[in-house]
């Protein structure tokens, strides 16, 4: 049962249905915004920048009407990575020691780096899960397709890639459910997925993985058949039922993003003696 809860906890790629300005924004704005945000937080040299980034994110989350606990769910997945990063930087950064524990030293520099790393990772995950929480997978790939259309000049099959991505995203919940079902069916036949050493456990996965692959292939071929039955033949000459169009709010969002980027990078690189990392 623990495993089932774990499968359910993966929020990355899960849409939260509600009415909000952020949900209504053009997916291209949200994609570009996430990219800008992620890049921006790597420029900071003091904690003022991070404070601004947190404030900005809090503001957007507030606008999105998505309950905060959904963001935290995404954090659970990277908790281990986060801890390793923090501990590694905390104890292994050379510099002026402030606290000594046997052979381990916590340095002033290490504390700063550890905290800023933790902030960066958390903001990264929360920021990008905000994108998927407020944008349906379909919208997301639509945005990608249109936003990256210029790559066609270099013969990149943008439409095909976008279609593959939207199908892949669409299949995640289906395959998760399937995994859960097959796992239960094999457990009912006495399969044990939880005990034994690594090799035993890897072997125990065979009765799960083989049926899962078989079913994935079956679903894929069914889908291909259904698409062909509806005359799908790639992106050439294909029109959209709901073409993406920028509205006033989208331009405003771009403006805000630009302002945030410039202002927070400027503030984040000021030489502040107390707040420098």
């Amino acid at each position: 049962m623990g495993r089932r809860d774990m499968l359910r906890d993966i929020t990355l790629g899960q849409y939260y249905q509600t009415e909000s300005v952020i949900h209504k924004l053009d997916p291209r704005v949200k994609l570009a915004g996430t990219l800008i945000y992620v890049i921006t937080i790597f420029f900071y040299k003091n904690f003022l920048g991070y404070a601004l980034a947190i404030l900005f994110l809090a503001f957007v989350i507030r606008l999105s009407h998505v309950p905060f606990r959904f963001m935290v769910k995404g954090m659970k997945a990277i908790l281990f990575l986060l801890m390793v990063t923090v501990l590694y930087n905390l104890f292994l950064t050379p510099g002026t020691p402030v606290f000594t524990l046997g052979k381990l030293h916590i340095t002033k520099e290490g504390t700063g780096i550890a905290v800023s790393m933790a902030l960066r990772l958390s903001l990264l995950v929360i920021g990008s899960s905000l994108l998927t929480l407020t944008t349906t997978p379909n919208n997301l790939t639509d945005g990608m397709e249109k936003g990256l259309r210029f790559l066609k000049i270099f013969k990149v099959p943008v439409h095909e890639i976008a279609m593959m991505m939207s199908i892949a995203l669409r299949f995640i919940p289906i395959l998760l459910e399937e995994t859960d079902k097959i796992m239960k069916a094999q457990m009912a036949r006495g399969a044990d997925f939880e005990s034994g050493n690594l090799i035993v456990r890897a072997k125990a996965m065979v009765p799960l993985l083989v049926p899962l692959f078989v079913s994935a292939f079956r679903r894929a071929s069914d889908l291909a058949m259904a698409m062909e039955a509806r005359c799908y033949r790639g992106g050439e000459g294909r029109t959209k039922m709901k073409p993406l169009k920028y509205h006033g709010r989208d331009y405003l969002a771009y403006l805000l993003l630009l302002f945030f980027m410039v202002f927070s990078i400027w503030a984040g690189r000021l030489k502040l003696p107390m707040l420098t990392i």
């Binding site: 049962m1 079902k181 009912a188 036949r189 065979v206 078989v214």
Partner: protein, 283 residues
């Protein structure tokens, strides 16, 4: 030994507003050797209840006693329970994975820790009891027809020699012939091996034809519990739950309304035919 379910409740979601009760205070006794049909529309909690009976889901509150032991006791071995309560999921052929039919059927008994010889002996018996022709034993399970695959999957559960067999819509997606074969097989397991059978089904006809007792589930509760005649007699209530009685019951009810003296509670075609013949003989 009977299965006793005592005030079983299973809820999911976070406590409070999000909490949903998939099972709501269910109490029930199933005696040995009974063939029980469980009906209810999608989401009524049938499958959830079935998964509790072999310990795949653990109840939020309540108890299940199997062979007089509480399966939620700390030292109760779930593996033992799973060897006694066989669970056949919907579309069980999706769980096949081995290179040949025979090894797949051996998977269950091997997991029980039996010797190779014992496991193979059980697999042979199970495959024979589901009527698989021997020339198919060493073929890939993926090369079989839909009905054959399903029989192999059921054999995979039978090879564990359970006392209780639970089947979740074993006839979904089969043609009428395949359906009759599977249901006939299940019935023979009850009559010949005295197994307790729990059958989840959407087909009122199947349930009326084969089972001794029907449980009707709705919104996580057991709404009706009785023989097919008793349950289908209340077909108006069933309709309110999005269910129905077998078609033949409607025909008999229609005849009754038109003033013919027939038994309106017939649930199988054979019963109804007898009634109508009686009517003709009386003139």
């Amino acid at each position: 030994m009977p299965i006793i379910i005592d005030h079983l409740t299973y809820s999911y979601g976070d406590a409070g507003a999000d909490e949903k009760k998939a099972l709501d205070d269910i109490s029930l006794t199933i005696p040995d050797g009974q063939f029980v049909g469980i009906i209810g529309h999608t989401g009524s909690g049938k499958s959830t209840l079935m998964q509790h009976l072999n310990g795949l889901l653990k109840a939020t509150s309540g108890h299940i006693y199997f062979d007089g032991q509480d399966i939620y006791d700390k030292d109760y071995k779930l593996k033992e329970l799973r060897s006694r309560v066989g669970l056949v999921f919907q579309y069980p052929e999706h769980q096949l994975f081995e290179i040949d039919v025979f090894s797949d059927v051996c998977f269950g008994p091997k997991n029980l820790g039996l010797s190779k010889a014992d496991a193979e002996y059980r697999a042979f018996n199970a495959l024979r009891s589901v009527g698989m022709p021997e020339e198919l034993y060493y073929q890939s399970p993926f090369d079989l027809s839909g009905g054959q695959k399903r029989r192999v999957a059921i054999a995979g559960v039978l090879a564990m020699e359970p006392k209780v067999l639970i089947l979740d819509e074993p006839t979904a997606g089969l043609d009428p012939k395949g359906r009759d074969e599977i249901l006939g097989l299940i019935k023979s397991l009850q009559t010949q091996k005295n197994m307790t059978i729990l059958l989840v089904s959407h087909s009122m006809e199947d349930v009326a034809e084969y089972v001794d007792r029907i449980l009707v589930m709705d919104a996580g509760r057991i709404k009706m519990d009785g023989t097919p005649r008793e349950v289908f007699h209340r077909y108006r209530e069933l309709e309110e739950m999005g269910l129905a009685a077998p078609q033949v019951t409607y025909i008999m009810q229609g005849l009754l309304e038109k003033g013919y003296e027939v038994d309106g509670d017939c649930t199988t075609v054979a019963e109804a035919a007898d009634e109508i013949m009686k009517l003709f003989r009386r003139g």
